[in-house]
């Protein structure tokens, strides 16, 4: 029995894609959960990061938060939210994933605001801008590339970790893997792994291309995603493995 052939046969069967709870259903659910988690994290982390970055306070807090969050297993938080009165399901999954999406967005927003040239801030103040104008018209545009990097990191991480929800009765593409393991159907296990890995790589590639497309002029660099080394962790978040 060739496992790769079995996996391809699984993927080649239209019924596996279109049936109720098939690949397409799971994919839609996966993307819905991921999108709402990232949005929730953005709503929370962007304003807080902007405020902290503008005032220059709380730098130690954001670094500590992202360091401590790396020590918390995603699976642990997914499970803990699933056994609260919320109950297991998409809501609990979304909340848990949003919690882990906050540190990359918060840290990158903070760093983005802090790395705006102090002279520019001084100059805009001297031109009579009030605090709100300084934030929105001077700091925000300059910090946007790094903020978007944070959102991208968070989004890729959320899409990847959403697969773990399947281990605790959540939805998403991870279900194919957990179900196939339960049935000892290793062809389907491999098929699920291929789908999940493909989705993660595609998300990374699409978001990188998007970032490249919306970044104007000289800042444009080939946005190959890179695993940040710990030595530049002062600059931005070290991506957590998923």
């Amino acid at each position: 029995m060739n496992l790769v052939q079995e996996a391809l046969r699984y993927l080649n069967d239209p019924y596996n894609w279109t049936r109720d709870g098939g690949i397409l259903d799971l994919l839609v659910e996966h993307l819905q959960i991921s999108a709402s988690a990232v949005l929730a994290a953005m709503v929370l982390a962007l304003p807080v990061g902007m405020l902290l970055g503008h005032t220059g306070r709380g730098g130690g807090f954001t670094v500590a938060l992202s360091n401590v969050s790396r020590a918390v297993p995603t699976l642990a938080l997914l499970t803990i939210f699933a056994v609260t009165p919320i109950g297991f399901g998409p809501t609990a999954t979304t909340i848990a994933l949003a919690v882990f999406a906050v540190p990359p967005i918060l840290t990158n927003t903070y760093v983005g605001f802090r790395s705006v040239d102090r002279d520019i801030v001084e100059a805009s103040r001297a031109m009579g801008m009030n605090a709100r104008q300084v934030i929105l018209r001077a700091e925000l545009p300059l910090a946007t590339p790094l903020m978007m990097t944070g959102v991208r990191t968070a989004a890729v991480q959320v899409v990847a970790t959403a697969t773990l929800a399947a281990l605790v009765a959540g939805g998403g593409l991870g279900r194919i893997i957990t179900l196939a393991f339960a049935q000892q159907n290793y062809g389907a296990v491999l098929a699920g792994a291929i789908l999940v890995a493909l989705l993660a790589v595609l998300t990374e590639a699409v978001l990188a291309a998007l970032a490249w497309a919306v970044t104007p002029g000289p800042r444009r660099r080939w946005p190959l995603p890179r695993v940040r080394t710990a030595s530049d962790s002062g600059q931005a978040v070290v991506a957590r493995p998923r």
């Binding site: 020590a71 297993p73 499970t79 281990l167 491999l190 993660a200 695993v227 070290v238």
Partner: protein, 232 residues
């Protein structure tokens, strides 16, 4: 069909199900220690193996720009693959064993460590290397006595990130039944949402990660006495 009222009455609510329960820990001490031991074994083995493979790779990648591209590109690809998928890729070949988990974990630590090792080696100033060579250091002695000590802070930073990440990732090993403390997390979930067991597993993971980080930070201090003197 379930009415709204009966749907809200989950099994969770039927009996007291506290988040923290010391009696759970004391009466299941042996199995908890067993899972903890597996967790530690997997983490230590993954980081050590990862470091052993990463060092030659980083040295190769530094030597030629031609090799650095593929090494870094491939490692980025590996890092993008979610852990559950990674274990699912490996499991059909190595079965439901700790080896499956170990292979997946080594791949991740490898990626983190190659990056950091390479950054560390590249941070050695060129004139220091030049001076050592001028003093007659051969390649081996240069690496061992000059480059490695200077790259040590970056190495240790990489080891710390890799260790903490690995402690968290090991939990996903439950998919093949070897998730260390992750067994408690998912086991508690499957045992009718037994909160005390879940929390024990989760808190154990966090404490283990913080303890490992602390130990490595201490090791770094011991290994780099010159940095301490400079700071003082």
């Amino acid at each position: 069909m379930l009415s709204a009222a009966s749907r809200n009455a989950l099994a969770v609510d039927a009996a007291p199900n506290p988040w923290f329960d010391p009696s759970y820990v004391t009466s299941n001490w042996d199995s908890i220690v067993g899972y903890l031991a597996e967790h530690v074994r997997l983490t230590v083995a993954a980081v050590l193996l990862g470091a052993l493979i990463a060092l030659p790779l980083a040295l190769l990648a530094r030597r030629s720009r031609w090799l650095a591209g593929p090494v870094l590109g491939l490692s980025t690809l590996i890092y993008t693959i979610p852990s559950l998928a990674m274990f699912a890729f490996v499991a059909p070949f190595t079965g439901l064993s700790a080896t499956t988990v170990l292979i997946g974990l080594v791949l991740y630590t490898l990626v983190i460590l190659v990056r950091n090792f390479l950054a560390g080696l590249q941070s050695v100033p060129a004139d220091v290397r030049e001076a050592a060579r001028g003093m007659g250091y051969g390649a081996g002695r240069l690496l061992w006595q000059v480059e490695l000590p200077l790259a040590l802070p970056a190495f240790m930073a990489g080891l710390r990130v890799a260790t903490v990440s690995t402690v968290a990732l090991t939990t996903v090993g439950v998919i093949v039944g070897h998730g260390g403390l992750g067994q408690l997390i998912v086991g508690g979930f499957n045992a009718n949402f037994y909160r005390a067991e879940i929390v024990t597993g989760a808190v154990g993971c966090v404490l283990l990660a913080l303890l490992a980080d602390l130990l490595l930070a201490g090791a770094e201090r011991l290994l780099t006495p010159w940095a301490r003197r400079a700071r003082a």
